[in-house]
């Protein structure tokens, strides 16, 4: 039991669980594709969690960052024939710089105003995706290949394994971050800006940091997307996706590392599960309706996020056990 409390090991186990579809023989490719959707969304949501869950900042523009990185990586690897890792680096640094600009805006704007500003920002980017067709392929989109690294050409399954490894590594990095002085300063900034400032936290700096980190994560998610699905078009990177990321963080558990992953799995898995159900799954629209209702129910009964369910169950049994013990004495 104690071993499982080690967070690194927990994250490795999450990775192993994600790898099951490629380890077990005879799993349909559709399942691997679904799992890949969960993984790239979880990577972006992990970043949103640093931004929203830990730092208390909101952005409705991060889907556009994902798109920007996806286009960049597609363009750099295909048109400019740059090595994969170099193009990833560029594809992630560009959104980071834009993220820093958003962070600077966030110093002036808070709450709803920040939400509107980032929403506008994201929509401008998305319009550019449509207009700049020499770069993005316009409405029909751009294509990419599975990556080639150190002379080795990745297959679909290998790309998926790469994504899972990336997710596990990022979970560990976020865990390290949030239990350090940086994470403390972020949480302080979210909870009481006054206290944070009085204790020497440069609020401007930490807003920039949280926007930069979340933009990099969104960028990595975009890179994963484009090199797994090998295609990118402007219909994906809407504000709806940004809202989805926020929903994932809230449903999974804000300000927890695992929450983003749990949320991503539920948000992608539940609709598929419902579609697979007999009778209700066969009527168009009904599965999504049920998913919507389930989410409302989850938010009512578990506003802190689904990630807390196992601990609450454990606490429940512990309490019962200790009551029973008292009874014996």
């Amino acid at each position: 039991m104690r071993l499982i409390r080690n967070k690194y090991l927990q994250y490795l186990l999450v990775g192993v669980a994600f790898l099951l579809p490629v380890i077990i023989r005879g799993v349909p490719t559709a399942t691997v594709t679904l799992a890949a959707s969960m993984v790239y969304t979880a990577i972006a949501a992990l970043g949103i969690n640093v931004l929203l869950g830990y730092s208390g900042q909101i952005s409705l523009g991060h889907a556009a960052f994902m798109g920007l990185s996806a286009y960049l990586s597609a363009y750099l690897t295909k048109q400019m024939e740059l090595p994969f890792l170099l193009s990833v680096l560029i594809a992630v640094l560009v959104p980071m710089l834009i993220g820093l600009i958003l962070g600077a805006i966030a110093v002036r704007l808070e709450g709803f105003y920040l939400a509107i500003a980032t929403l506008g920002f994201g929509e401008i980017l998305r319009q550019l995706f449509i207009e700049m067709d020499w770069f993005t392929g316009g409405f029909s989109g751009a294509s990419a290949t599975y990556p080639k690294m150190f002379g080795h050409q990745f297959t679909k399954v290998e790309m998926y394994i790469f994504m899972v490894c990336l997710l596990v590594a990022l979970m560990m990095l976020v865990y390290n971050l949030v239990r350090s002085s940086t994470g403390r300063a972020m949480i302080a900034m979210k909870s009481s800006k006054t206290a944070a400032m009085a204790m020497g936290v440069n609020v401007f700096q930490y807003k920039l940091i949280s926007f930069a980190i979340s933009s990099v994560f969104a960028g990595l998610a975009g890179v994963c997307y484009v090199h797994f699905f090998r295609h990118v078009d402007p219909t994906v990177w809407t504000a709806a996706l940004s809202l989805n990321l926020i929903a994932i963080v809230v449903i999974g558990g804000a300000a927890t590392v695992g929450g983003a992953v749990v949320g991503a799995v539920v948000m992608h898995g539940l609709p598929e599960l419902m579609k697979g159900m007999p009778i209700v799954g066969e009527i168009p629209g009904v599965p999504l309706l049920i998913v919507g209702i389930l989410m409302v129910i989850m938010l009512i009964f578990y506003p802190r996020g689904l990630i807390h369910i196992p601990r609450d169950i454990a606490n429940f049994f512990q309490k019962r056990a200790s009551h029973a013990k008292k009874g014996e004495v």
Binding site: L173, V174, N176, L177, S180, S181, T182, G183, R184, A185, I187, A188, S191, S192, T194, A195, A196, M197, A198, M199, G200, V201, N202, V203, I209, I213, A255
Partner: protein, 262 residues
């Protein structure tokens, strides 16, 4: 006499209301200095001006650090103040409710941490080592204020008296030379106040730092303060020892008299 803080001709107005009006005072090293006055007299505003949460319209605020170097605080960003060794608490407590008590105290050492974002992300051994060392220091502080047994409990679940102690403990992490306490005994019961009085006296003595406090509990003010400054409508009424202040007719009119009526 070496001064730690001097406030000269401080004034600030909010939309035509003069909250602080040409106020001057200074605090000596190791001194416990009290600021009293009726509600709305501008006491907290003075604190906010000193710690640069408000930017005063006029007047100079100077602070001398541990090494004897003088700093003009006017115009400094609020987050830079603590680095000089000047730290404050808040009237209604500003606690990070979602962090454990010990992490709230650790926040007080924020400016000590050398590790940047990347070093923290990759959990560099030297960064973790500093975290462990400061965590130990925070534990010592918690032992000092008597909260060591509940160090890992969440701050949000604690009663008001504990929150006040967390805030007080948090100020000790930066090895301050001046602590500003905004109503440290506000909302505390008699026995808690008595313990707090001892604690504040102990901090000033053991940690060689000066204390500037605002407080409505006159017993605490009179028992603790070396000197007291009474203000009303942002203006200084009188300054002196507890006995002098108590006998001052102006103060009695403006403040103590009024309290008797209520």
């Amino acid at each position: 006499m070496a001064q730690v803080l001097s406030v000269d001709h401080l004034s600030i107005s909010f939309g035509g209301l003069r909250a602080v009006d040409d106020l001057s005072f200074h605090i000596d090293r190791h001194e416990i200095y009290g600021l009293i006055g009726p509600n709305g007299a501008g006491k907290t505003t003075v604190f906010n001006c000193i710690t640069q949460f408000y930017k005063p319209d006029a007047g100079e605020i100077r602070f001398t650090d541990q090494k004897g170097k003088e700093h003009l605080l006017n115009g400094m960003p609020a987050h830079k103040i603590i680095g000089l060794g000047l730290v404050r608490t808040f009237q209604n407590t500003e606690i990070i409710r979602e962090l454990p008590i010990i992490d709230n105290v650790l926040l007080g050492a924020h400016t000590e941490f050398r590790a940047g974002t990347l070093a923290n992300m990759f959990a560099m051994p030297w960064a973790r080592k500093q975290e462990r060392e400061l965590r130990k220091k925070a534990m010592d502080v918690l032992t000092y204020v008597g909260l060591d047994k509940i160090a890992n409990e969440y701050a949000g679940a604690q009663p008001y008296g504990v929150l006040k102690l967390i805030e007080l403990g948090r100020t000790l992490m930066c090895d301050p030379s001046l602590i500003i306490l905004d109503e440290p005994a506000g909302g505390l019961n008699d026995s808690e106040t008595e313990r707090l009085t001892e604690l504040i006296r102990g901090i000033a003595r053991d940690r060689h730092c000066a204390i500037l406090l605002v407080e409505h509990d006159m017993k605490l003010v009179m028992a603790l303060c070396d000197r007291i400054c009474a203000i009303s409508f942002g203006k200084k009424l009188a300054e002196g020892t507890a006995a002098e202040i108590q006998q001052n007719p102006l103060v009695q009119d403006a403040y103590l008299g009024k309290e008797d009526d209520a």
